[in-house]
Each structure stands twice: as structure tokens, then as C-alpha cells.
């Protein structure tokens, strides 16, 4: 195990019991993600990528194999210990943002720190503000989540995933609900965050989005079938400029 690796999984299996049948969602996966990487986890539906993401996110545990997160084997941890790992080491971004409704951006971003007894209310507020500034929402901190556009909501969600200084951000189809321009804007933000050294695991099934990452791993039927460095890496900011100046103009 290299000193630089954030995630290291070895021969990972995950089996589900559905009725009398055993579904083998993951069939021996080996994967290492190093610090500073920006990895797209790809595959069609049923390929096992969501199952892998759940395990990487410590929301689920593997049936077989080992998973080291930031040097710690999480396979044997209990429910509460996993919750603590999620709280301190991981950041999540979901397809449907999952913000608290009728709650300000700031309060939404503060949420993970509320579950961390070591962070007092002053520090919590400071870090939430920093995170919102980092995603470009300095002027919208007090806005309620339901008063924001989809792109802005996803930015709030990204700020929420950053606020606890995680070792890796795990995004699940984070651009799935957004139009092309907004998707590119979100990808530009991810690229910017990655430039600052933040490690990102990005699940998607769109090749167009995956080309903005540095490395693509492709799953099929529970196995990793392709692992490649993105050669012709796209620049999301440039892609926005390349869009035709048509009806996307009104979105900001």
C-alpha cells in the first residue's frame, strides 16, 4: 500500500440475497485511488458502480475483501464507527442535491459539523462560510435552498461536502439533474477543487462528463473492466465558452 493512497480495496465482493437468489453485485474488485486524483467511476446500470460507491462511502460494508480508507481498514467497523468515518473523512454529493428545504445555504452547509462535537458554533459558521465562498456562493449564503436554481443548489451541496475537510469527495451522478451548461459549470468547479488538491470520486454514466476527470474506471457485471488515464482531458471552463450563445444565456 503506497503512502499516498486514500482508498485501497482488495478483492472486494458484495452479495445480496434477493428472495432465494444471491445477487453478486461486486465480484472481486481491486482499486486504488491516490491523493489528488479525480476518478470517474463509470458503467451502465447494474454494473455495480453504485454498490461500490456505497461501500466506498461507508454506507455499506463488503461481503468479502478489504477496504482501507486513509490507511484504516473499515471492513470491521460498527454502524456508529462508520457514521463517524463518514462525518470526518468523507464528503457526499448526490444527484438530487438533498438539501434541507426552506433552510438557508449556510445552515445546510453547517449540517455535517453539527454532528461533530469537536466543532463549536463559531468555527462551524467560519468553515461553512469558507466552503460557500469556495463554490462561488459568497453572495447567496442567506438564501433559502428552495429559492435557488439547480446549479446553485448543487454548489451548496458541494460546499456541504467540503466543509469537514474530507479526504475524498464522492459524487453520485452529480450532474444528472442539470442541463449541459450548468453541468459544465459544476464540472469546472470540481476541476478547480481538484486543482487545489482535493481528491474526487465521481460516479457517472455519461462519457461527456467523464472526460473532464483525470482517470476513468469502467465497471460491467460487478467487475472492473477498464482503468485508464484520460488523455484528451476536457477543460470545463472552455466547454462553457464553446457553447452557443443561445437560450442557455438566462441561467447563471
Amino acid at each position: 500500500m503506497s503512502n499516498n493512497s486514500i482508498i485501497e480495496i482488495k478483492n472486494l465482493h458484495k452479495n445480496y440475497q434477493v428472495g432465494d437468489e444471491i445477487v453478486r453485485a461486486l465480484r472481486g474488485v481491486d482499486l486504488t485511488i491516490d491523493k489528488g486524483e479525480f476518478v470517474a467511476i463509470m458503467g451502465t446500470s447494474g454494473s455495480g458502480k453504485s454498490t461500490l460507491l456505497n461501500i466506498l462511502g461507508c454506507l455499506d460494508t463488503a461481503s468479502e475483501g478489504d477496504y482501507f480508507l486513509d490507511g484504516k481498514n473499515v471492513k470491521t467497523l460498527k454502524r456508529n464507527e462508520l457514521a463517524e468515518i463518514r462525518n470526518t473523512k468523507l464528503g457526499f454529493v448526490f444527484q438530487s442535491y438533498n438539501l434541507l428545504p426552506r433552510t438557508s445555504a449556510l445552515e445546510n452547509v453547517e449540517l455535517p459539523l453539527l454532528y461533530n462535537g469537536a466543532v463549536n458554533s463559531k468555527l462551524r459558521r467560519e468553515r461553512a462560510e469558507e466552503a460557500l465562498i469556495a463554490v462561488g456562493l459568497k453572495d447567496r449564503m442567506k438564501h433559502l435552498s428552495n429559492q435557488m436554481s439547480g446549479g446553485q443548489q448543487q454548489r451548496v451541496a458541494i460546499a456541504r461536502s467540503l466543509v469537514n475537510n474530507p479526504v475524498i469527495i464522492l459524487a453520485d451522478e452529480a450532474t444528472g439533474n442539470l442541463d449541459s451548461r450548468t453541468s459544465f459549470e459544476i464540472m469546472a468547479l470540481f476541476q478547480e477543487l481538484n486543482e487545489k488538491g482535493i481528491t474526487i470520486g465521481f460516479v457517472t454514466h455519461e462519457a461527456e462528463i467523464a472526460r473532464f476527470t483525470k482517470r476513468n474506471v469502467v465497471f460491467r457485471d460487478g467487475r472492473l473492466i477498464k482503468d485508464m488515464i484520460v488523455k484528451d482531458r476536457g477543460d470545463a471552463k472552455q466547454s462553457i465558452l464553446d457553447l452557443k450563445d443561445d437560450d442557455y444565456n438566462f441561467s447563471s
Binding site: 454506507l59 454502524r79 457514521a83 448526490f94 434541507l100 449540517l111 453539527l114 454532528y115 462535537g117 469537514n164
Partner: protein, 406 residues
């Protein structure tokens, strides 16, 4: 997780759903309001019964002849002839624990003045009778020991009698009224006392020397009752025991023989009526407690819906590091806050409703601290009790399933 953070989370969740939170609270508000108002009404009437009995004198002791059984037939008290004037003399000489003692006579009939008449009863006692029965003279005077000795035909009237036989407003003092054809000179009028607890008009009364009634009206040699004022209200029991012992020896009763008299104290009356009005309190209290229970079930209902509706939120909280017990506490505190807030509003409502009952309907009300504290504690308990099941359901959710919930 810090309790202050949990409180923040719960309060913001309540504020996010103002209308629903208000409707949930409404059940508790009405329940607590009803409990406080009903208990106030019940305790108010209880207290007013007790105080009106006390206004008749809590240190009053009545001794009446025991009803007798003659050939298997129970005779009325008035036909017993066990209490005599010599008992009064013996008791006033030997009884150490009373301040006043008086024989009591009474008979009913028509009182007449000129062309006006009124059906009433005439009561007789000695000069101490007025203190024992707590009457006060408003004009004129009470009769004297000398008038008692001579069986003088004098009387003191209650205000009801004055109103009915002197309707034109003549000063009754010095006038002559007739009771059962015997003329009585009016020497005084009592201050108004009003109705007692049982609705009897305490001003519908004529008092005359007992000797006058005995000799001139009923022509009897025995007394209807002997009344006492005990020295101390706290020693009513000891005082009645002393009276009982003295009367038994005065009547020469053997150990095996039953008393040929009966001693009654106001305390017994208070405890009898007290138990009736306490029953009323319990009845009113339990009816309103049912509405509190229904309010609690309302909270459980809403919390249950809330957990289902907020499944994704719960999933998110679990995903970003919330532990099962954090979620459990969040929902439990939410339920408790709803019921405590509802309880506070309910207490205010209860005060308001009691105020209205007191001033608009003129019913006696009494809000006791214990009823407020009790309904408040019941409220909190309801919050915990009915919040527990939905909260546990929320805390046991699998984050992956919860996040995927539509």
C-alpha cells in the same frame, strides 16, 4: 452530539413546517386547556362548598337524639325524648373543651303581621345561640338571659322574613308578629347571610328563646338538639369524645348500651360533601385527560407521517455522519418540544377559559399549581411516549434505502 445542536435541529425542523406543527400542537393545547379549566371548575366548587360549610362554623358540634326503634319501627328523631334541659346544665358545668353551649328547639308554622304572612320555622336557643350559629345583629338586639328565664315572647327576624311580612318597608323593631297565634315582639333583625351550600335560605329564620318555644308553642319538656362551639377546630374529635362520655354518664348508660343520642360535627359534613365534589373533580379531570390522550396520539400520527415524509432527509443526515441515536433524539426532542410548547399555550388557554367561566358565568374556579404542574408533566411524558415509536423507526433506517426514497 451536543444537546444544544439537537435542540437547534429540532427547532429548525419545527419552524420549517409551521402550519403542521401548529395543528399538531392544537391537540395538546386543547387537551391541557381543558384539563386546567375542568380542574379549576371542579376544585372551585369543591372549595366553595368547603368554605360555605365553614361559614356555618367549623367548630360547631350538634347533638341530636338518636332515632329509636320501637317494636321494629324506626321512630323519627323528634319523637325521641332523650335530650333534656338538665343535660345542658350538666354539660355546661363539666365540659372543658367548649366555649359555648345552647339547647335548640324548632318548629314550623306561619308567621303573620297584619295582612301579610309567611311560612317559616322558628328556632330557639339560649343567649349563646347567636355566637354558636354565627348570626350577627344588624339592628335592634338579641334576647337576654332574663328573657330566656321568663320565656318572654320576643323574637329576632331574618331579612327574608322582614321582606315578606313588612313589604312596605316598616321598621320591624318594636312591631308585634304572630307565630302560631302567639304574639311576639320583634326586638332585632339579623344581618343577611345568604344561601348556604345546599340552597337553603339562611335568612328565612326567626329566633326566639328556646324556653318560649318549649312552653308556649310546642309544650314539650325535651330538646330537639344541643349545639356547641368547640374551643378549637383542630380538637373537634376530642371535644365530641368528651361530650359523648359526659352525656352517657348523665344519661346513666351502661357500657353495653348504645348511645341514645348522636353527635354530628361540621367536619363530617365537609368530608361527606368533600368526597362528592372530589368525585366531580376526578370526573371532569378524566374527561379532559381523554382529550389530552387524543392530542398525544395526534402527535404520534404527525411524527409518523413526518418520518415517512422526511426519509430522504434522515438518509442525508445518516450519510453525513449522523448516528442512529442522533436521529432518535432529534425526533424525540421534536415531539417533546411540540407537546411542551402546546402545553404552555394550553396553560395560558386554561387560565383564559377559567377567567371567562369565573367572570361571565359566575362559577367559582380555582386553579391550583399542582394541576398546572401535573398537566405540564403529562404533556412532556406524552411527547416522549408518543414520539418514541416514530423516532425509533427513523433512527433504524438504512441510509442507502433512505437516500433512494422517493
Amino acid at each position: 452530539m451536543k444537546i444544544i445542536n439537537l435542540l437547534k435541529i429540532a427547532i429548525s425542523a419545527i419552524r420549517r413546517n409551521k402550519l403542521r406543527s401548529f395543528l399538531t400542537m392544537l391537540g395538546i393545547v386543547i387537551g391541557v386547556g381543558a384539563v386546567i379549566t375542568m380542574l379549576a371548575i371542579g376544585q372551585g366548587s369543591n372549595e366553595s362548598i368547603k368554605s360555605s360549610i365553614a361559614s356555618m362554623g367549623t367548630n360547631l358540634i350538634n347533638v341530636m337524639p338518636a332515632s329509636r326503634n320501637r317494636g321494629g319501627v324506626q321512630q323519627g328523631r323528634t319523637s325521641s325524648q332523650t335530650l333534656k334541659e338538665k343535660d345542658v346544665a350538666y354539660l355546661s358545668k363539666n365540659c372543658t373543651m367548649v366555649t359555648a353551649i345552647s339547647p335548640e328547639m324548632n318548629t314550623s308554622g306561619q308567621v303573620v303581621s297584619g295582612s301579610n304572612n309567611w311560612p317559616t320555622s322558628i328556632n330557639g336557643g339560649n343567649e349563646e345561640y347567636i355566637t354558636i350559629k354565627k348570626y350577627e345583629i344588624s339592628s335592634g338586639r338579641f334576647y337576654t338571659a332574663k328573657e330566656i328565664k321568663t320565656a318572654a315572647k320576643v323574637c329576632v327576624l331574618g331579612q327574608t322574613i322582614v321582606d315578606n311580612i313588612f313589604p312596605d318597608g316598616t321598621d320591624p323593631i318594636g312591631q308585634t308578629v304572630r307565630f302560631e297565634k302567639i304574639p311576639f315582639k320583634v326586638i332585632g333583625v339579623f344581618k343577611e347571610k345568604g344561601d348556604n351550600t345546599f340552597g337553603d335560605d339562611q335568612d328565612d329564620v326567626i329566633l326566639a328563646p328556646y324556653s318560649t318555644i318549649m312552653k308556649r308553642i310546642t309544650r314539650e319538656t325535651y330538646l330537639r338538639a344541643i349545639v356547641f362551639s368547640a374551643k378549637s377546630e383542630d380538637k373537634i374529635t376530642e371535644t365530641s369524645a368528651e361530650i359523648e362520655e359526659l352525656l352517657r354518664s348523665s344519661h346513666g348508660l351502661k357500657d353495653a348500651e348504645d348511645n341514645d343520642f348522636e353527635i354530628r360535627t361540621q367536619e363530617e359534613l365537609i368530608s361527606n360533601f368533600g368526597s362528592i365534589s372530589e368525585l366531580l373533580v376526578v370526573l371532569l379531570g378524566s374527561i379532559s385527560a381523554i382529550s389530552l390522550l387524543v392530542g398525544g396520539i395526534g402527535i404520534m400520527n404527525i411524527m409518523y407521517v413526518s418520518v415517512t415524509e422526511r426519509t430522504r432527509e434522515i438518509g442525508l443526515r445518516l450519510a453525513i455522519g449522523g448516528k442512529g441515536k442522533d436521529i432518535l433524539w432529534q425526533f424525540l426532542i421534536e415531539a417533546m418540544l411540540l407537546s411542551v410548547f402546546g402545553g404552555i399555550i394550553g396553560v395560558l388557554l386554561g387560565y383564559l377559559a377559567s377567567f371567562i367561566v369565573e367572570h361571565v358565568m359566575n362559577w367559582p374556579v380555582l386553579i391550583t399549581e399542582s394541576s398546572v404542574v401535573m398537566s405540564f408533566m403529562v404533556c412532556t411524558f406524552i411527547g416522549v411516549f408518543f414520539g418514541w415509536y416514530p423516532a425509533r423507526k427513523a433512527s433504524a433506517l438504512d441510509p442507502i434505502v433512505a437516500l433512494r426514497h422517493e
